[in-house]
Symmetry: C2
Subunit: 219 residues, 2 copies
């Protein structure tokens, strides 16, 4: 049985309520497909929204950054934050401008983050973050040393208060517009990886590893 | 001469300051290449981050939505907001996990929005939004009628307090890591449009217009 979270008044989808999704399995699937989130937090009454990467392990979201980062210094004090992940799937072109839309899957998580102090959890979180973005990379690269770990902060946000919003499918037009001579349908959008570019300092030249060559991903 | 905005303490890029960009021309170029933004606002002390589309005209950003939308009802009261646009350009794979990065261009705009009341500006803003996402669509589709205009709210955010952050180029490794046998370089990422999907209710079938077939875009 998938766990279904009851939406709180803060996470209930109000506009287009049929697009609201509250089951954890769907939310985890969306989180696992993306790797770029936008984090909202407040400084002196002003909201800020900053993009960063993330990783998920079980019911926790991990983010990381330089210990000197303004965002991380703010968030580690257990202040209210919002993490939003958006996967854009397509442009939905209706016969009327008004009924144009987009196909997307988005997740909003509200909560407070905690600084990960335990060295083992911190290393595991960094491993999760790395493998989340590019599986196979962690073992192929030099792993973090003590100095680097000290320069990195990791935050844990429990995935507890959340909702997703999903739109799929064709345009929905007003009945009387279907006879208009306008093309209608969906233009799918997907984040695609291009041909890997060798670092010019690769000496001797090296083969691009399989886990990079086969990379396809949504962000 | 490009106008260069002095960063305020709130928009100055602190971490990796050499990535901070404050000239309006660069910022407008980034805004014009994307069409998806993440909007941050505060309700009862809780930050929310919601994805939506936008359009730019001169030094104003326009967003729109249902007049019933929680976000728009909140924002029209001239509360502090943040609009962030992120273009993800690639994964930067260094020889050490620590030096991994991403190539990206992001813009952060702080300010307060105003509800567009003037009918001509409102229609122009909707035209801007539509053409921003898919040039050519506005004239090919049925344009908004009075009822639809009433159901739509448009907000104007002046692009006044802003900054951009840009990373480009290859990985930068620690000197002693360059001899490691790890492939390093950049995996370019790009939002690509797939084959347009006809609405099954197209009757008779219609050709996909050229402005859709040739669509390539960043989001």
């Amino acid at each position: 049985m998938p766990e279904t979270q009851m939406p709180t008044p803060r996470t209930r989808v109000i506009r287009e309520p049929h697009r609201g999704v509250y089951d954890r399995e769907t939310v985890h699937r969306i989180l696992d497909e993306g790797f770029l989130c936008h984090i909202g937090f407040i400084v002196d009454g002003q909201p800020f929204v900053i993009p960063t990467s993330y990783g998920r392990k079980d019911a926790n979201l991990y983010i990381h950054g330089s210990s000197a980062s303004r965002m991380l210094r703010n968030l580690k004090d257990s202040v209210p934050m919002c993490v939003t992940v958006t996967l854009l799937d397509g442009l939905v072109l209706a016969r009327s401008v008004f009924n144009h839309s987009m196909n997307y899957r988005s997740v909003v998580i509200l909560g407070k983050a905690t600084l990960v102090e335990d060295p083992r959890e911190k290393l595991e979180a960094l491993h999760t973050l790395s493998e989340h973005i590019l599986p196979g990379r962690w073992n192929d690269a030099r792993q973090p040393n003590e100095r680097e770990l000290k320069q990195t902060s990791v935050l844990r946000l429990p995935i507890e208060e959340f909702s997703a919003k999903v739109r799929t499918g064709p345009p929905i037009d007003d009945e009387e517009d279907y006879s208009l001579p306008t093309w209608a349908g969906v233009v799918p959008l997907e984040l695609k990886a291009g041909e890997p570019i060798d670092d010019s300092k690769l000496d001797p030249p090296r083969e691009v590893p399989v886990y990079i060559r086969d990379y396809t991903r949504h962000a």
